[in-house]
């Protein structure tokens, strides 16, 4: 969630109409309007630091049949043994950096272009605006009309990619019904962690605005497509909670990764149920 990609232009202040009421204060709001963007800022910055560190760490992402969502699918020969899904490593051995870097652009892109996160970072990072009826500090604003922000219109492509990732991460959760030796029929706390993570990601993806559009929102006549209308109604209900799913799935991914990392570096062992 790098902020420099959204710089809209030079900072020369454009004058407001002189006919407006002359009120000096940037805002007359008396409530704590700054609290919400500040929290957003802190949490997202913390996540960026954590995610960047983990993505470049290139270690502690696979243990006990559990793979970190930051590294799945692991597509390079350098991946630790058994971590590559079905041994599929199309990038071969020439890729020397962390294999996480091969794939993270997709979930990152999905969130960067997400209609909720856009609101969150435009407000918290770029202060455009910091809160409603609070003046923004920029002289010029062109929004999403030109490069690079016009790329946010690519959200649906990241959504489609995100669905593939959701399938893979769900499969990771199913694979976690194996023990460290690869035998099926076992279950551990790690199994639950990966499944929970996958579930939250599904909720986040399915509640997405692009999903809502694709499943039925784009239709002019719901009455001619009763099944898609049902789907749209359902997705619309989820969509109301998109912000919630955006946050909990973000925490979910970080926690799932942290769990795998802690198991992999031996801080504790993954407790098994059977």
């Amino acid at each position: 969630m790098a902020t420099d990609t959204i710089a809209p232009g030079p900072e020369a202040p454009a004058p407001l109409s002189p006919a407006r009421a002359k009120i000096e204060q940037k805002t007359l709001r008396t409530d704590r309007w700054w609290l919400s963007p500040l929290l957003t800022l802190l949490v997202l910055v913390a996540f960026i630091f954590y995610a960047t560190f983990r993505a470049f760490q290139n270690a502690d992402y696979y243990a006990d049949g559990l793979i970190s969502p930051f590294y799945s699918p692991c597509l390079a020969t350098s991946c630790v043994p058994d971590s590559a899904l079905g041994g599929f490593t199309p990038f071969g051995s020439w890729w020397a950096l962390s294999p996480a870097l091969l794939i993270l652009i997709f979930p990152l892109g999905f969130r960067m272009t997400c209609y909720y996160y856009r609101k969150a970072y435009y407000r918290a990072f770029w202060q455009s605006p910091p809160a409603c009826a609070v003046a923004e500090p920029h002289g010029k604003y062109t929004g999403e009309t030109r490069f690079p922000l016009i790329l946010n219109n690519a959200h649906r492509w990241f959504f489609y990619a995100g669905l593939i990732f959701n399938v893979i991460l769900t499969w990771d959760g199913i694979l976690a019904f194996r023990n460290g030796a690869g035998q099926w029929g076992h279950m551990s706390v790690g199994t639950l962690v990966l499944l929970a993570n996958a579930t939250l990601l599904w909720l986040y993806s399915l509640s997405c605005h692009s999903c809502r559009h694709a499943i039925g929102g784009r239709l002019k006549h719901f009455s001619k497509h009763p099944v898609r209308y049902k789907g749209w109604t359902l997705v619309s209900k989820l969509n109301h909670k998109h912000m919630l799913f955006a946050w909990v799935s973000l925490f979910g991914v970080a926690l799932a990764d942290a769990y795998v990392a802690l198991v992999a570096n031996g801080t504790f062992s993954n407790p098994t149920f059977f």
């Binding site: 009421a21 009120i23 455009s128 409603c132 003046a135 923004e136 604003y141 999403e144």
Partner: protein, 253 residues
């Protein structure tokens, strides 16, 4: 029951003005507009403010109360502490005429630029058939009382005067969405939304939705769906290809 409330009301016109202090009686169950009326009747007979229905249905008494864009008739005094100073100022985004009254002509200009409802040519009055589920989306947007609070709050024009030329504002982008979702409208709204009405300026920071006194989900139900429809038309090669192959536009679906 009643108490003396402290008020600051912006008084002045385009040439200048400032916040004027008032002490005024406040009674149980009153709203900010009641207090403004009392000020007019007892202390400042020429204090300008707009109002009509006093029931949140006409959208005339828009102002900024403690910095928040709101309808004066829908802001109950009980939401403030008795010793709290209530500050009432005119809408910031529009030129001020006097006191709390602003020139909202910008909105009517923008409204006029949206191509009107364009029905199928062969349909006669009385022959219109539409299903309830097909009209509901547009009906939500037609709840709009045109209070222009969203237009006032949207930072695209609030903080950038120059964008008033290119940007229609949430209310009229929602009008475009309303027509695009109208089961019988035949005009192209998608290209128009992006190219003529400045949908791309919207960065979906949702302040329009936050201030809407009718609780219309402007961003989630109108602006974002409209952005997605624009993507269909302009930024999605698959949909574009599909429409070429099947020789139909996506809006026929």
């Amino acid at each position: 029951m009643g108490y003396k409330g402290k008020f600051k009301v912006w008084r002045g016109d385009a040439s200048g003005g400032d916040l004027t202090d008032f002490e005024v009686e406040v009674n149980e169950g009153e709203v900010v507009l009641d207090v403004i009326h009392r000020l007019q009747a007892t202390q400042a007979p020429d204090m300008a403010c707009r109002w009509n229905c006093k029931a949140g249905k006409c959208g005339s008494c828009s102002a900024e109360i403690n910095g928040k864009p709101r309808l004066m008739c829908m802001t109950r005094m009980s939401t403030f502490e008795e010793d709290e100073t209530v500050t009432v100022t005119p809408l910031r985004t529009f030129p001020v005429i006097k006191d709390l009254v602003t020139d909202v002509g910008f909105n009517y200009t923008k409204g006029r630029e949206v191509k009107s409802f364009t029905p199928p040519a062969d349909l006669k009055p009385g022959e219109y058939r539409m299903q309830q589920i097909d009209v509901e989306r547009s009906q939500e947007f037609r709840k709009c009382i045109e209070c222009f609070l969203c237009q006032n709050t949207c930072h695209v024009v609030r903080d950038h005067e120059e964008n008033k030329v290119a940007f229609a504002g949430p209310r009229y982008l929602m009008r475009v969405a309303e027509l695009d979702m109208h089961p019988l409208d035949t005009a192209d709204r998608k290209n128009a939304a992006q190219e003529e009405h400045g949908l791309g300026y919207c960065n979906i920071t949702k302040c329009c939705t936050e201030v809407c006194p009718e609780h219309i989900h402007i961003t989630d139900n109108a602006l974002i769906p409209m952005k997605e429809r624009v993507v269909d038309k302009k930024y999605d090669p698959l949909v574009w290809l599909g429409s070429k192959i099947r020789r139909r536009s996506s809006s026929d679906a």
